[in-house]
């Protein structure tokens, strides 16, 4: 019999908003269940520019978003100082070009104009501990950033904050769990439970890994499924619209500039080239997206669009090695007859009660930098409905790892030099919790050695994440640790990490192979649009290592057959009255198909 458990609230979607709401609820003592059909931070929450920036871009037409983003950015710094890093920007003020090229910020606000604009932004900087702007002469700008084009009048600086967006989501979810929440990743929403008045009172879910089904009930269900939101609501009979926007970034294997640079696309859009974590990222695009939400793909022409813009401010860009792309679909608020770039980044909530679906609230829009604010607003609504009067603490209570400060230099000074970088990167991700992770090295010194050499990530961190950070699949590991996200894109570390998964998560060899195939394919998809130069050479090595040296291809297929067999046997062994168990869908992503509307729908 399928399990049935009661919660106060069920949150659908394990992105930054869902995880933030779950954390806020859990911290107020609200019994909360989070259901995610993939991994945490799988969608736009992980595939963004990785900044909790103030949204200067919106200053011209969406001041409220800028102010809110700056305020919440300040709070995020307080609760997760270990995850933050400063990214100073240089905004080059280009020489005036033809009139039709003057559509954006840097182009049509010449030096004085730019200054006035940044003075306006300076007002919001203290909210996020940002520094006010500085005006740079052309010589100063070129001295600071030698890669900059000399086709500039001067430049203006801008101060922003970078963050590991995956860790932000995961640590919100872990904090929720530590305060009593339940988090189910890799669970499909297959339907809603309704009472006889049509109110949503729970959800039916199915574990995509094991195939087991369950029903959970709650007084309120929050739909925080991002770009999937309208489909999720439709499954309950609710309705709203988004303008989903596809955003593509290119990742470089190392830092190619000292500062973040603001650049302009052929269509006048503003984009960034910036140092981020151990590499550099360039992007993003923003195009209306009508494709498969589960399989968005960056394409070579999108890469060319971005590079064309980057070349204008940073002419040497073509000399550097692109290592991969990533793509996300923004759940942007709907509006008719507006260019993608001008769509509001604000968030809205929809109560579906007027549509005859009480008990369901949908969250739309939002941005990484204001997720906490969004979560607080939703949780306040939930708390009011539940009569809960506990105050919100998410702006002051530290996220996991931020409980204590950690002096990384002092802590790592006795380590051999070659391991220090990996361990200090771990300290960046896990903050004060790193010490416990590294303690295993006393017994087994092998675990201090980096498994992923590019980022780098040590084995102890990988094992700890598999055991304690809501990891269920191999592809989940990279979102906790950045394993396989460096220069080589998972050439040497993925097979090894799949072995760690076998050991720590008790996988069978067949499951290990299916996981490896899936994770390698996920990396391959990101690398494919930038198969050029050294990156293509690395993929040739990757292919030779796995399919020539390790002969994995036939065994990938054999493993898939074996896993399907297991699922068949499980289904056959089930008693006749048990719910039908679907076959293991380990590789093929599933799509939520909207249920047909009932005939008697009001």
């Amino acid at each position: 019999m399928a399990a049935s458990q009661n919660y106060d609230v069920i949150v659908l979607g394990g992105g930054v908003n869902g995880a933030g709401i779950a954390r806020d609820c859990a911290r107020r003592g609200i019994r909360v269940l989070l259901v995610e059909k993939n991994d945490l931070a799988k969608g736009a929450s992980g595939a963004n520019t990785g900044m909790i920036h103030g949204g200067i871009r919106y200053l011209r037409y969406d001041v409220h978003t800028t102010k809110m983003a700056c305020t919440d950015s300040g709070y995020i710094q307080r609760i997760a100082p270990h995850l933050l890093f400063r990214i100073p920007f240089i905004v080059p003020v280009m020489k005036p070009k033809d009139a039709h090229f003057s559509a954006t910020l840097a182009d049509h606000l010449y030096l004085e104009g730019a200054e006035i604009f940044f003075e306006a932004y300076d007002e919001y900087q203290p909210l996020k501990r940002g520094k006010p702007h500085t005006r740079l002469s052309k010589a100063e700008a070129l001295a600071l950033e030698p890669g900059l084009t000399d086709d500039i009048l001067g430049a203006v600086t801008m101060d922003e904050w970078g963050i590991d967006p995956f860790r932000l989501v995961v640590e919100n979810a872990i904090d929720a769990v530590e305060h009593g929440a339940t988090v189910l990743t890799w669970h499909d929403l297959v339907g809603f439970q309704k009472d006889n008045k049509g109110a949503v009172v729970g959800v039916d879910v199915e574990d995509r890994v094991s195939g087991s089904k369950a029903t959970y009930t709650a007084g309120v269900v929050v739909n925080a499924t991002g770009a999937w939101g309208p489909r999720t609501a439709a499954l309950a009979g609710g309705w709203y619209q988004l303008r989903p926007g596809k955003g593509v970034h290119i990742v470089y294997s190392h830092r190619i500039s000292n500062f973040g640079l603001v650049m302009t696309g052929v269509d006048g859009r503003q984009m960034f080239l910036m140092p981020h974590e151990n590499g550099s990222i360039v992007g993003t695009t923003d195009d209306d997206y009508y494709g498969d939400l589960d399989n968005p793909r960056a394409t070579e022409d999108e890469v060319k669009y971005i590079l064309q813009a980057a070349r204008v401010v940073f002419p040497a860009i073509d000399k550097y090695r692109m290592s991969r792309t990533y793509v996300g679909i923004r759940p942007t608020l709907w509006a008719w007859a507006k260019n993608e770039d001008r769509l509001s980044r604000e968030h809205e909530f929809y109560d579906h009660a007027p549509q005859g679906v009480p008990g369901l609230i949908s969250v739309a829009g939002g941005k990484l930098a204001s997720y906490r604010q969004l979560a607080e607003e939703v949780t306040a609504e939930i708390a009011q409905r539940l009569g809960n009067r506990v105050a919100c603490t998410t702006h002051s209570a530290p996220l996991p790892g931020a409980e204590d400060a950690i002096d990384v230099d002092a802590w790592t000074k006795d380590l051999p030099k070659r391991h220090r970088l990996a361990v200090s990167r771990m300290a960046y991700r896990h903050g004060s919790r790193s010490k416990k992770i590294l303690a295993v090295v006393d017994d087994d010194p092998r675990q201090v050695v980096s498994t992923c050499l590019c980022e780098p990530v040590c084995e102890a961190e990988l094992r700890a994440c598999i055991k304690g950070e809501l990891v269920r699949r191999l592809v989940d590991v990279r979102r906790r640790t950045r394993q396989s996200m460096g220069a080589c894109g998972g050439t040497r570390c993925l097979a090894r990490t799949s072995q760690l998964l076998l050991e720590e998560a008790q996988l069978t060899p067949a499951e290990q192979l299916v996981e490896l195939q899936g994770a390698m394919t996920a990396r391959f998809t990101g690398k494919r649009p930038v198969f050029e130069g050294a990156n293509l050479a690395t993929e040739e090595l990757n292919q030779a290592m796995h399919f020539l040296g390790a002969n994995l291809q036939p065994f990938f297929q054999a493993a898939r057959v074996a896993c399907d067999d297991v699922a068949h046997r499980r289904a056959e062994a089930a008693p006749a009255d048990a719910p039908v168990t679907r076959l293991l869908a380990l590789v093929a992503p599933s799509v939520i198909i909207p249920a047909p509307l009932p005939e008697d729908r009001r």
Partner: protein, 463 residues
Amino acid sequence: MSAATEVDVVVVGAGVAGLVAALRARAAGASVLVLGKSSGASFAWSGSVDVADSLVGMVPGSAVAGLERGDAVEDAIVQTAGRLPRHPYARLGAARVNVRDALRFLVDAVPSLALSLRPDGKNHVLATALGTVKRGALVSRSQLLDLAELPSSAVVGVVEWRDLAGFNARPVSEMLRFCCGLGAGHRAPRFVDVVVPRVNGGEVFLDNAIFAAALDDDAERLRFLQALQLRLAAIDPAPTHLLMPAALGTRPLSKEALDDVDKKVGRPLRELLALPPSVPGRRLITALRDAATAAGVDVRDASVMAPVIEAGRVVSLEVQRGPERQQVRPRVVVLASGRFFGGGLVRDHEARESLFGLPVVVDGQPLGDRFIGSLTGDSVDGDHAIFRAGLAVDDALAPLDHSQRRVLDNVVCAGSVIGGFDPSRDGAALGVHVWTSWLAGSLAADAAKFSALGPGGQAQDLA
């Protein structure tokens, strides 16, 4: 600048293909200069020379058993040619009879590796570092443990050293159990884990290459073998054979040394096929370079650039090593520069061969600036045309343009710079490299002799 050097054969590329071509050309009497920046894809060599595989593409467990070895390699070559019409085995059909000679040439060139073929002409069935199994025609002595030949009573111990990072026995033994157990027809051996406690204090070995360097020392090797022997006493059932990561020294072990290893641990101890950075690859390249140098081949770590072409012939090349630059005037050039990993091909918006700018072909079409989406499959293990890309060649291994005309008269191609095959998918990899290089070396030596008699061979003012 020093005066230009005149050489019969300049080999561009110092990987396996370049060195085999050089040895062959030298054996035919030519003066040979090898120029290369790296040792190419030997970095990733598993230790198995894959020549052809009649079972390639079949799924173990359904179509075949995990331990099946397939038809004789020579038959598999013919099958490969039939299955893949653009494969060098098909395109150079007449020369196919030389594969056996080419392999014999390799075996004789590097006697220290003791590369061996099976007497029945079929493939070996070998264990990889991930615990999968793989078929290969030639394998060196220290890696030769044919899983399909073991008696059903065999117990294979997978050795994990707690001094060596990045390798645990359990995932490998479990994978071997899974892969060897697929399908009917063979009784798979049993696999057990042998975890050897720390021998050294302090830091561990970071990878196989560093561990192998430590094991080069006889006394050090003895310490580790004794620790293994001690541990084996506690393993039940007692292993009859042992497999460990490919790290038994950076140099090939002599027969006596390997016998001694076996005696110390009381049973055969062999190496798994390797993952990069490959110790067996380093052994092979070192042995080939030593053989080439001993034969009088000039092998230099240098870059090649600025080719001068006159009347369809390469008349000079510039060689750069550090700050030094030198002109070389070759009679014949063997192009053994590999593909993307070796540096022979580049794709930067547009694809080209990197030294002469020769056109790159994929599946009979120009690669040019085609979009990557049409050249790659959707999954990592799918079909990727881009990894079959290379130069089109005629029967004399001379590069062709898109109209099937010879581009350069005195260039002979060798190894993976020749397109039409995917080493990672066709069941034929290093065997094709060795065979085409052997052919190229022979053709180059002949052409150099011919050109020495003609006008191009007359003494010229080289200053």
